[in-house]
Symmetry: C2
Subunit: 165 residues, 2 copies
DNA sequence: TAGCAGATGATAATTATTATCAATGACGGA
DNA sequence: TCCGTCATTGATAATAATTATCATCTGCTA
């Protein structure tokens, strides 16, 4: 029953160190230039445990790199996601998407064209069934977002990096 | 194993009819005015099976109500979500949120303050474990988003409508 | 160390969403 | 059925996130 649990910020420091240490090698592998800005953005992201927005990362990076451009922060964050060094919590954030179907269900999203299809997966729903709370959170519901490539996009995307785990 | 399946647009027509039929009564119950615009927006949303954006709904509604304002469409869609007549597929769409933690994990999101915390739930991951595809979709990964109210927000939200299932 | 492809910074442009506010009309009570 | 009230609408402006542009700079390879 207690299969689901919140993760505190434990071991964040070590994790950040390890990730920064391997960053240079990873960049070389991906043939991506290692710039002070990229390093700083990744460090700032790793130091914030709270899934920050670009402006928060910008604020933090500026403490060490007062001359960095906000555009660079945006570009770098997207780049880090493309190469698998970071993750976008909000793959569909560009515009609000609405759904007239109020029955509980889940979604599969094409990460490229952003097409969204309904998905039925009853098992997902039962996992939180008993619980009312999770730590300090009062539960309302849960939805699963399956990241995928639709047929059309898969053909066009041929050889590509992760961009979504 | 085949517990997860895509839902086609079957029975959409009947579902739409039923929803529209009960809409007036639901509005009365919620003490919300029934306007032609609201009815039209809900109809347009129900007719689009594809999780549309506000501008798509606007385009469709204009076919019958050429004078409707785009602002009204935005307002109405949000309103419908508040009272449980529709659902926002993208509760975190306002701004991109990034995550330096690349280990597979899930999230709990406070629907009010948008705080995001990491969540560990191994069972969620195993459900799609075997599959490579789902219908025409090539699977990449899946993430669970648990909607919740954090302690602080729960106190401040006292008596409130659904806004999230 | 030279040269180039890619990265950056400054800035403008784009675009979704929200705010404002006067005019309108839905609806409960007379 | 008519009226007054107040929520809703439409038109428009304001806001804010993101992306585009482009001249300059710099990490990287040979
Ligand atoms: Mn749906
Ligand atoms: Mn996370
Ligand atoms: Zn696609
Ligand atoms: Zn909260």
């Amino acid at each position: 029953m207690t299969e689901v649990k919140l993760l505190g910020g434990q071991g964040r420091g070590d994790y950040a160190q390890a990730r920064l240490a391997e960053f240079v090698a990873n960049c070389r592998r991906k043939k991506m230039a290692v710039t002070p800005q990229r390093r700083a953005v990744l460090r700032a992201l790793l130091e914030s445990g709270d899934h920050p927005r670009a402006d928060r990362v910008y604020a933090r990076v500026r403490r060490e790199h007062p001359h960095i451009s906000l555009a660079t922060v945006h570009r770098t964050l997207e780049r880090l996601c493309e190469v698998g060094e970071a993750r976008k919590v909000t793959p569909l954030h560009e515009t609000a998407r609405y759904d007239g179907n109020t029955r509980p269900h889940h979604h599969v999203v094409c990460v490229r064209c952003k097409r969204v299809e309904d998905l039925e997966a009853p098992e997902f729903d039962t996992l939180l069934a008993g619980r009312q709370t999770l730590g300090e959170f009062h539960l309302l519901g849960c939805s699963v977002e399956v990241r995928a490539l639709c047929h059309r996009c898969r053909k066009r995307t041929a050889g590509r990096s992760p961009s979504a785990a």
